[in-house]
Amino acid sequence: MAVAPLGPQGLIERVLAGEPLALARAMSWVEELDEHADALLAALFPRLGNAWRVGVAGPPGAGKSTLCCQLARSWRGRGLRVGVVAVDPSSPLSGGALLGDRIRFRDLATDPGVFIRSLASRGSLGGLSLAAGRVADVLDAAGFDVVLLETVGMGQVGEDVRDEADTTVVMLVPESGDGVQAMKAGLLELADVLVVNKMDRPGGADLLRQLALAGARAGRPAAGESQGAAPAWEVPLLGTSATSGEGLGPLSDALENHRQWLRRTHGGRAEDDVFWRRRFLRLAETMLVRNFRRRLAADAALAGTLEAVRRGERALGPLLAEILERHGGGPVAPSS
C-alpha cells in the first residue's frame, strides 16, 4: 500500500476525513507548537463547534478513566463518535511521563469510532495540558460528536477544564475527605455535575449527604451574565460506582440536561469571547515563561549575582527587579 508522507500538504483533508494517522500527526504538531500547527488550526477553524466537550476532573484514583470509558461506551451505543483527550502528569525532573489512561479503555481499544489521545501535562498546572483544548479542536473538526477531556488527578485546582469543556463533571470519592474539604475553593467550583464515585465503598453515602448539606452547588452563570430570562443551572449531585456501572444512567441524563440547558442559554464557543481570551492568555503565559527560562539559561552573569545573594551581599528583591527588567518583555522567540 502506497503511503503518502505526513507532510503539511494534504494533511488537512486527511484530518477532515478522519484518517487516524493524520489526526494523530496533527495533534502532535499542535502539541509541539510546530510551525505547521497554526495553518492547520486555521483551516480547521470553520469546522469547529459541533462536538460536545465533556470535562472530567477529580483526585488521582477517583475513577476518571473508568467513568470516561463507561460514558464513551454509552455514547457509542447511541452511534456517536467519541474522542478522548486524557492528560497525565509530566515529571518536573525528567520531563518524561507515564500515560496510563488507556488501560481503562480496553473495551474500546479497537473501536474505530473512538479516538483516544494521551497527553502529558508538560508543566501545565491547571489540570489539562496546554495543547489539550486544541487537540480537542482537531477531533471536533474531524467530526467527532463528543470529546471527553480527562484531567490529571488533582485536588484543589483545575480551572483549565472549565475553560475548555462545555460540561464539566467533578468526581469525588469517599476517601476525598469530609465536607469541609469540599467547601474549600477549587475543584467543586468547576462542577456542572458533581459525582461521588465508588459509592460501594464505606463513607460514600456520608460524603453525598455532607456535600448536599454544605450546599456544594454553584451553577455556571449564563454567558454574559444575561440571566434575565435564563434560569441558572442547578448542579446535580449524584452517586456512582463506575466499575459496576451503577448510577451511570442518571449521570448520563444529567449531562444531557446540562447540554440542553447550554443550548438554551449560551451562544456557543464561537460567540464566547471569554473562552478565546482565556485560551489566548494561557498560551501567551506559557510562551513567555518558556522564553524567559531560555533567556535566564543564557544569562552568563546570573550565577555570579545569585552567588552574591547567597553570601548576603545583595538582597533578592532589588536583584529580582533588575533581572526581570533585563529579561522580561520583548518579543517572544519561536520555540526551538
Binding site: 503518502a4 487516524p20 520531563g95 500515560l99 496510563g100 479516538f115
Partner: protein, 142 residues
Amino acid sequence: MPVTRVLVAKPGLDGHDRGAKVVANALRDAGMEVIYTGLHQTPEMIVQAALQEDVDVIALSVLSGAHLTVFPRVLELLQQSGATHIAVTGGGIIPEADRLALQERGVGRLFGPGSTMDEIVAYVRSLPGREAAGRGDSGPAG
C-alpha cells in the same frame, strides 16, 4: 525537537507485567512520554493505540512464547496502516534463533534477561522515530 513517545504494551495472555513497568519507568525517567496500555493486548489494539498516539516506538514485552505470532502481526498491521515509520522493539523470553528470525523480518533489538536499563534507553534513543519518516515535506501527500 519533539519529545520521544513510546508505546509499552503486553500482548497475549501472560500476566507478568513487572518487566514492562520497569522499562516504562526507565523510559519515563529518561524524559520520554510512555503510553502504557496494560495487559492482554491484541496486535490490533496495540497498533490502533500506536497510530492514535503518534508514537515513535512500540515496545512489546512477551514472556508467553507468543513472540513469533505477535511481532510479525504488529509489523503487518503497521504496514497496512501506512505506519512503517514506527519502530518495533521489545523484550522477554525469546530464544536466540527466534530473535534473529524476527529481526530479519524487521523487528528491532529484542532485550532478554540481564539487559540493563541504560542499554534499553540508549537503544530507544537511537531509533529514528517519526521525525525521520513522517515529516516528509517531499513528495505528494494526501
